[in-house]
Structures are given as structure tokens and as C-alpha cells.
């Protein structure tokens, strides 16, 4: 047993608004500068849709993540060893058209235009060339099913649906959408780390945050290819790759990452997970159908005395263990089995888990040609949800539909239980039956309800103390740091930093 601690996350997709506040919170603080314009460390996608960069999920094209070879795994695309040959030409990298050409507007014209015979206008200009352009793609071009014929219909997750099923998704009776906020997964088995020829990428011991050392990075961009989530970006100004840092400067101050802080849908949870690093290799090499379960098995019970002892052995701070015991992520992922990893088949063992959304029930068109939405029971069965199980399974369970069904049944059982508690107008056996079916008792249903509906900020975000004083002490007296902190010159990042 090699117990380590990891800061992990849960996104409750049923609550996601698709507002993108998280993306801007991040951009304001981290990527609002030259070379980083197109970086969206955090972005939100409409599903069905092709996402950002376009069709990032299609590893036939991008060759990200790991592939299973017998009982072990290897990087699918360019890596430290495999990729040496392609160091100077990496054909699997997304190009600017897969992202977009960042632009601004010639706003000045509105102030400076001489009096003429027509109204002046601020036209879009490229942030790269400075020339007038007509933007033809952006980081969120297919928002809310915009251009659905070109984007939603090419969603990579449709590949396992029949053409009829795909077509039905765009009929009134079945049409739906949901949002998928994405950021770096700070994986347990990060492909970016493995791929970096410079050894610039590492996973921090204390919290599992994956970082690209801005001094060591040599711009090979193997991480860009290797990350199957396309969450590593190349900064064309500084010549370094950058990615989400999970706001470690905020974490170290006990604050939630900016994207989490700003989540106005209150969908996000953060907490410590203790895991057994010895299990990583085997889990990553599981068969597809076992991937989710085997990943979940890596995370261990923070209340188990053996785990606690092993954690202490590894130097994990008491305060971190306490946080792990209070972790909302542990509850959603392990205790309740409600949250699932995104595309577990990429085998990076991501640390961001999603509770799949409940969506409106399917409708039908009656003999008169009009639309009817009725259901046998109050909310409609989960099998009647508008998004096909196969689609959700493609996102969250490497194709295992039972896994998705189990989660949705639990969510529905909580609702039935709460209806019973607060209204009591449905047949009693309905709530009881649903809970039994979901293997859940009232206490669990209420606990799920409370953490879903009522949590306060501090309950959603349980952040372990960083004990920075201990880290500093290894270099110099912490008291000296206190006195010196902040002195020095502030210079912008430049190439070859």
C-alpha cells in the first residue's frame, strides 16, 4: 500500500447552467495575456457537440491518452520515447483551425473615425496578424446547439448509436442538450507527464496537482498531443506550454480554485482523496468494462485505520487526512457511487468526476400530429430520459450502460424520497421501491439530497491546509520569508524565461 493524497473534484451536471462563468474566472486570472488568448484552461461544452478544440474526443485523429497493449499500456501518440522521431514534426497536434484564430475589434475607430457619410464600425481583427478577419470559429462556436448540423451531429459520442437514434436526437420528441464543463483532470496516470521529453511536467506530492515547469519546458508540445482532453496549450509568446494549475496559489491559501469559487450553478465540489499508488498501473490496464470500477478501487477509505497508518507513513499531514475524511468528493464517488470519470477509456485515471444529468422525458407525437408529453408516473422513468443511455455511457463509463442506469436510478430515488417527505402525494410504494432498487436507505437519500441541494461553500470545498511554512523551511527560515516576501522586480513573462 502506497497511500498518497490527491485533490479531486466532482461536477454535478444536473445542476450545470452552461453559463461559462468558470471559464472567465479562470481567464481573468490566468490566461488574459499575449500568447494565452486561445487558452481556455477551463471551458464549457454543449453536448451533443464537438467541443474545444473541435472533436477533441476523437483519439483516432489526435492520438491522445493511453492504449492497452496486452496487460500494460503505452501512450497512443507521441511520447518521450516513441515520439523522439517526431520531435520536430508532430502530426497529431491540433492546429489553429481546430482551435480558432483569436480576434479583437477595432474599437478605436468609433472614437477616431472622421465625419463621413455613414456610421463608423469596429470590425474584427486577428490578434495574430492584426488584419481584418471574419471569425469562423471560436472556443464555444457550437454553444446551445448552434450550427447543430455541422457540430452536434458530428459529436464523437454518436459513434455507437444507430443512424436512426442519432437522427431522433434532433426531433422535437427527443431533442435535448446538456453542458460539460472541462478542465485539467490532474490525472493519476497523466499522459502529459509521461510524454514530456524535458521532464518539465510533474505531479505534486502533497496534492497531486499536475504542473508544467515554466523554466524547464522546452516547447516540444508532446503534452499537447498526449493529453486526451486537450488541456495542455502552447503559449506562442513565451514558447512554453501551459495548463490549468488548479489555482495552486489559491489552494495554498485555503481558497477554492477560481473556476470552483465562481460556479454559480453550485455544481462543483472539491476534496481530498487518498489513493493507493500501487494500484494505478493495473487499473490503467483494465479491460474497458472494468475501467470505472478499477479506478474507483484505487481510492481508499480515509477512515480505515490501515489507510491512516500508511498515509502517515508516507508523510501525509494529519490535517490532510482529516480533510479526506470530510471530503465531499469521496462521498459522491465512493460512498454513493454517483460520480463517474469522463472517458475512462483514455486510461489517464482522471480526478474529475461527473454526476450525469437528469434530462426531460421523451415525448411523442399523437395521431393529430401534435406533441404530447405525458408519463405513467410523476417524473417519467429514467429509461425515458431524452439522452440515449449509449450516449452517456460513451462519455462516462467506457460504454457500460448499466453503470449509467445505476446512477440515474439513485438520483431518481432521492427525488422520490424527497417528494414523499415534503409532499406525500405519490403512492408510498413508489419511493420505497425506487430506493430499494437503488440500494439506498432514507439516511443515504437524505445525505445525497443535502449535499446536492443545500451545501454551503465550505461543504462543497474542503481544502487541506498546504502547510507552506513546512515547505519554505526546507530552504530558509520561514520568518525570513515573511520579511522578504514580495521584494524583487515584476517583469512580464518572456520567451526562454
Amino acid at each position: 500500500m502506497d497511500i498518497r493524497s490527491q485533490i479531486s473534484m466532482v461536477f454535478h451536471l444536473d445542476k450545470c447552467i452552461g453559463c461559462h462563468t468558470c471559464s472567465i474566472a479562470c481567464k481573468n486570472i490566468w490566461t488574459d495575456r499575449k500568447g494565452a488568448e486561445y487558452m481556455w484552461w477551463n471551458n464549457v461544452e454543449t453536448k451533443p457537440g464537438t467541443g474545444y478544440p473541435s472533436k477533441w474526443e476523437d483519439q483516432d485523429t489526435y492520438k491522445g491518452g493511453w492504449e492497452k497493449k496486452g496487460n500494460s499500456i503505452s501512450l497512443k501518440g507521441a511520447g518521450k520515447f516513441k515520439g523522439m522521431k517526431s520531435l520536430f514534426h508532430n502530426s497529431n497536434m491540433p492546429v489553429i483551425d481546430d482551435y480558432y484564430e483569436p480576434w479583437t475589434y477595432k474599437y478605436e475607430n468609433l472614437f477616431e473615425a472622421k465625419e463621413g457619410d455613414d456610421q463608423p464600425i469596429a470590425r474584427p481583427v486577428s490578434l495574430i496578424t492584426g488584419e481584418y478577419i471574419t471569425p469562423k470559429s471560436g472556443p464555444n462556436w457550437d454553444d446551445d446547439l448552434a450550427g447543430s448540423e455541422d457540430y452536434a451531429k458530428n459529436d464523437v459520442n454518436f459513434k455507437n448509436l444507430s443512424p436512426a437514434e442519432q437522427e431522433a436526437m434532433f426531433q422535437l420528441e427527443r431533442m435535448t442538450l446538456h453542458y460539460l464543463p472541462r478542465m485539467c483532470n490532474h490525472c493519476l496516470n497523466p499522459a502529459c507527464v509521461a510524454a514530456c521529453p524535458s521532464g518539465a511536467i510533474y505531479k505534486r506530492g502533497e496534492d497531486g496537482v499536475v504542473l508544467i515547469n515554466q523554466k524547464k519546458c522546452r516547447a516540444w508540445r508532446m503534452c499537447v498531443t498526449a493529453c486526451p482532453y486537450k488541456k495542455s496549450y502552447y503559449n506562442w509568446n513565451t514558447g512554453k506550454s501551459e495548463k490549468c494549475v488548479l489555482c495552486y496559489p489559491r489552494l495554498e491559501a485555503g481558497q477554492a480554485p477560481a473556476c470552483h469559487h465562481s460556479c454559480v450553478g453550485r455544481i462543483r465540489y472539491i476534496g481530498v482523496m487518498l489513493y493507493d499508488a500501487d494500484k494505478i498501473e493495473a487499473a490503467a490496464a483494465s479491460n474497458d468494462e472494468d475501467l470505472v470500477q478499477n479506478q474507483l478501487d484505487i481510492y481508499v477509505d480515509p477512515n480505515d485505520p490501515r489507510v491512516i497508518a500508511a498515509a502517515k507513513e508516507n508523510g501525509i499531514h494529519d490535517s490532510t487526512i482529516e480533510c479526506a475524511q470530510k471530503s465531499p468528493v469521496y462521498k459522491f464517488v465512493k460512498e454513493w457511487g454517483l460520480a463517474l470519470p469522463l472517458h475512462p477509456e483514455f486510461r489517464t485515471l482522471p480526478n474529475l468526476f461527473y454526476v450525469p444529468p437528469l434530462l426531460p422525458t421523451m415525448a411523442f407525437v399523437n395521431e393529430e400530429g401534435t406533441y404530447e408529453t405525458t408519463s405513467e408516473n410523476f417524473w417519467g422513468a429514467i429509461e425515458k430520459s431524452r439522452l440515449p443511455m449509449g450516449y452517456m455511457a460513451s462519455l462516462f463509463s467506457a460504454g457500460n450502460e448499466e453503470t449509467i442506469k445505476t446512477v440515474l436510478k439513485k438520483l431518481m430515488a432521492v427525488r422520490l424520497h424527497r417528494r414523499e417527505e415534503t409532499v406525500g402525494d405519490l403512492p408510498k410504494e413508489e419511493a420505497m421501491g425506487a430506493m430499494k432498487d437503488a440500494v439506498m436507505d432514507k439516511e443515504m437519500a437524505d445525505a445525497i439530497f443535502r449535499l446536492t441541494s443545500l451545501p454551503l461553500f465550505d461543504q462543497r470545498f474542503v481544502i487541506p491546509p498546504a502547510h507552506r511554512e513546512e515547505a519554505m523551511e526546507m530552504l530558509e527560515s520561514t520568518a525570513d520569508v515573511k520579511g522578504n516576501s514580495g521584494f524583487g522586480f515584476k517583469e512580464p513573462p518572456v520567451r526562454g524565461l
Partner: protein
Amino acid sequence: MVNVPILHDSAGEVSQTEVKDWSKGECEPIPGKTMHDMVIVDRDYTKIYDKFISLGPNVRNGLAAHGNGYQCADFYEKMLDDKDHLQVVDGKVYPSLCEDEEAANAVLYLSSLTNGELSHRAYQNAEKRTGLKLADISEGAKDVRINYKDLQAKIHRYNQSPVWSGLMNDDRAYSAFTYNVERLVPWRTLTGRQHFYLDHEGYIKFGEHLPTYKPSPRPEAYGELRKSVATGRAKVLNVLTPHGKWHIHSTYGDTLRMLTLSRGMEPCWLSVEDAAELGIQDNDWVEVFNDNGVYSTRACVSARIPKGVCFVYHAVERTYSTPKSQIRGGKRSGMNNSFTRVHLKPNLMVGGYGQFTYHFNYWGPVGVNRDTHVLVQKMEKVEF
């Protein structure tokens, strides 16, 4: 002389039982009764600045909103004790409103929402008017005084007050009319009850005395497509202009953030069916127009839009990305309000009768726009 219409929450509510027009000789013109009132005012234009920066003496007579008033002369006097925040006009002292923060504090100090004693007085007044027991509602809040710096330091919930109709005791969420239902305080209507039936003569004549259904005006009668005719390349659609995702009205819509996360401008959303019929592909340039004007933009073709309608999200700016219109002679095209025109619904103009009595932003016809129809067609040439 300032003309003043007959006002809601005043005795003007009981002035006209029937619609009689003095200008047609149907009745005598009686100011404040069968016609508007007139107020004669002395206005010294050399004193406007002085008055602006000082809180005038009429506050001593009490304040009111929504027909609920209270006395506050003592609080006005207390403001005069604050020697650092006074103005002198013609030798008399007044509380100062010179600085923004002084104005903010005057609002907060004298409002029943942020001064618990005034809330209490307002409930006491309401008790007198209604003959009901009400002042217990504000009993616990009498000592509350919230000033501007308090608001900066911490978020404050305001007091309940009879100015508003929700009860908020015991951290209860505000829900409208709980005051009326639980405390038996009438609504400010003709019968004091919630009205199913609107017996105003104008309502009867316009067929809206009972709750009913009326169809949307037909586009041919609405008159916005008299000269703009579908040529085969264009199609009549009902244009909806809901509030959008990337702006609050026009604000934020011009920021680089929102433009980057959207399509760089406010497009016209079309259904897949209508777009196909018009030969329009996602992202093509289109013109959206009727007799009133034109908006040139790009198409956003989506399965989530139903046939027969198009969306241009509300409050476009014409300052960026807008090309010249091709169908209207090559001048800069406008924005979503280029294809709207005001249509007033006449029965909403009646007055002097119970709840149908004017108050600013309370009563009168509204600037409807949802019934607008436009033609949409592909734009062949794009010029800036």
C-alpha cells in the same frame, strides 16, 4: 404649472366610475376628477444647484411609497445634528446630499427598509388604516439602522416593510402577498381582492373583462410588411428577441470575453428547415428586415429552433461587426430594434378607476415587440 395625471394609491383611484370625455362635451372638465390636475410651482432657477445638494424640508412631512407612509421628522432633525454633513441655503441648514455617499446614507437612513423604527411606524400606520394588528411584524427590527459602510462591510438583508407585500420574519424567504393572505391586508384594487373580473368600461368594450384568449395580431394587419415583400429568396418569419446569453441588454455584448465565447456578433438563429428553404448555411451572412428597417448579421442554424420563427437575441449593438445593408441601399444596417415599431394596446391607457390609475412605471401601454414579423434572406455581398 405642472400637469399631473390622476394617481394610483391616492384618492384619485375613486374619481371616474364611467368613461366620460369632457373634450367631447360628455362631462365638465374638473381637474383631478374628469381631467388631469395642475400644480402651480415656484421655480427659482438660480437655486437648483443649492437644492440639488441639500435634502429639502418637506421630508419633515413624512415619506411614503405604495400608499404606505410614516413620519420621520425626528430623523431629519437628527441628520441636522451631523455637523460634518450639512449645507447652508439662504441661511438655513439642511442635510447635505453633495457627495454620493451622503446621498446613499440619506436614502438608507430614511427608508423603512433600512431603518427599523420607520418600518415600525409604517406598520403602525397600516394598523390604523386597516383596523388590523400588524405592528408586531416589525417589533424585533426597531433598532436596525443600516448605513452605506455597513453594506460595504457585509451583506445585509433589509427589513420587511408594508411598502412590500412579503413577510420575512424568522429568516423566511420573501414571497409576494403573504402579508395580504396571512394578515388580511387588502390588495390595492377596486374590491381589495385579487381580481378575476375587470369591470372597467374600457375592459368590457375591448372584451377583456373576463380572462380570455386572444390570438397574436396577424402580420398582414400589423402592417410592418406592406412594402417588404417575400421574393422567393426571403421568407416571412416571426422574429423573437429574447434576452441573450452573452449580454445584459447591450452591455457586455461588446466585450471581447463575450464576443469570443459567442460568435463574435449577435447572429440570427434559424431553424434547419427554414434555413434549408432559403439556401442559408450556418454562418452565412443574412439580412433580417421589414418596412421598419434592417439588421444584417450572420445565420446560426440550429435544430433547437422551431420552424416559422427566428431569434435575434435582444439589444444588439450596432457598433461592431455590422456590415452595410444591401437591400436598403448600402448604408450601415441597424440592430434588432430596426425591425420593431411601437404598437400600443388601448385598453391599457384607461385611468382614474381603482387599480387602473396611473403611476410611473405602474400603468399604461407597454412597448411590445414580440409580434414582429420579418423577412430573412441570404446576403450576397458583404461590405463594411
